[in-house]
Symmetry: C2
Subunit: 216 residues, 2 copies
């Protein structure tokens, strides 16, 4: 046989991406075979090579697009010229929402870095560093303005990112907690962690338990 009725390059490529994210997240990049991926899409392995020249090209494409999406999401959500507390809240909300929404892709981007060539690894890490630098700047601004109490900006940024990204390890949609509830609690923990003071409203009182919902 050969070309099948109703076959469409764009649809097949999209199906390959989606199936690859799911399979790599579940099995790991090395453990997933091209034949397995093809079977998931409903196609022969050779057909995959029409869209991605090698297995690594496929992985790299998935990762690059994930990072681009994250950076774009932040550049949209980022509040301009706001105070550090507001900016930090926006960063946390965007980060958690994005990562919960794309749990599988995040897993791939975080776990399969070692399967990239040196050059491509550098490229992905550069994007990641740029994204993390945004958080460091917020923390530094807040510390300088006396709104945060932070020992070490870089270390705090890493701790916060690990904490927030860790959500995808245990969060399952539709279980005990909603995304909004998780976000609210993480916001509260974040603000306390950085020693945020909400002077604008009530004078230098540290963050307490936040019970009100946070808009996403």
């Amino acid at each position: 046989m050969a070309r099948t009725t109703g076959s469409d390059g764009e649809k097949t490529e999209a199906a390959v991406r989606e199936a690859a994210i799911s399979l790599i997240a579940r099995l790991g990049y090395e453990a997933m075979s091209m034949r397995q991926l093809a079977a998931e899409v409903g196609v022969q392995a050779a057909a995959l090579y029409r869209y991605f020249p090698t297995k690594e090209d496929l992985l790299f494409t998935l990762m690059r697009e994930h990072m681009e999406g994250l950076i774009e999401a932040w550049s949209t959500a980022r509040p301009v010229a706001a105070d550090p507390v507001t900016r930090l809240a926006a960063y946390v909300e965007n980060h958690i929402a994005f990562h919960i929404e794309r749990r599988h892709a995040t897993h791939v981007s975080n776990m399969e870095l070692r399967s990239l060539s040196h050059e491509r690894l550098t490229q992905i890490l550069k994007m990641r560093t740029a994204y993390e630098k945004e958080l460091r700047m917020i923390l530094r601004d807040g510390a300088e303005a006396g709104r945060f109490e932070i020992d070490d900006t870089g270390l705090t940024a890493m701790a916060l990112i690990q904490m927030m990204t860790g959500v995808i390890v245990w969060f399952r949609p539709g279980e005990r907690l909603s995304v909004a509830e998780v976000t609210t609690t993480y916001l509260s923990m974040t603000m306390r962690l950085v020693g945020a003071k909400i002077d604008a409203y009530s004078g230098a009182r540290p963050f307490e338990r936040a019970k009100d919902a946070v808009a996403l």
Copy 2:
């Protein structure tokens, strides 16, 4: 050829474990071949099967011993009948010290779970859950005693563990920060995150920046 002069089963097995942890941490379990591992040890691949019947048995052994070591380390470090703040501090110190000391093994235990059979995965997760439960109990006791302010005990425990374990991702011994400095900062962040009050010393004042070294 056959048996080599000076060959010793115990030493070879120890060398295999050590090399396996290092190789799996660097390349991933699926990407590491038994021939690669054997070469690292300075032996032929067939010799490995004298010590571990299959590749998965090797992985499982490494993981089980890592978890056993973690639980044992905590059961030694754990303070008996102390207040929640002291117990939480001990948990954080032990966790960070253990994980920095065994970065590679931690990487293996955290990243390669999906390569275990269902039965063995369950066994490892059971140990991990037992270890995490210790933290949840500390948090619950502290919250009930009014020493902590916590929204959700389970969620806070997960956040803290992700934050602390994340140290191994960026920490490199001998770089900018010492283990003691990292631990001190993480202790301070943890105490603020849980809203710890150090009543015993100074009345209900929240944790501030901790500058004094913490004994490990």
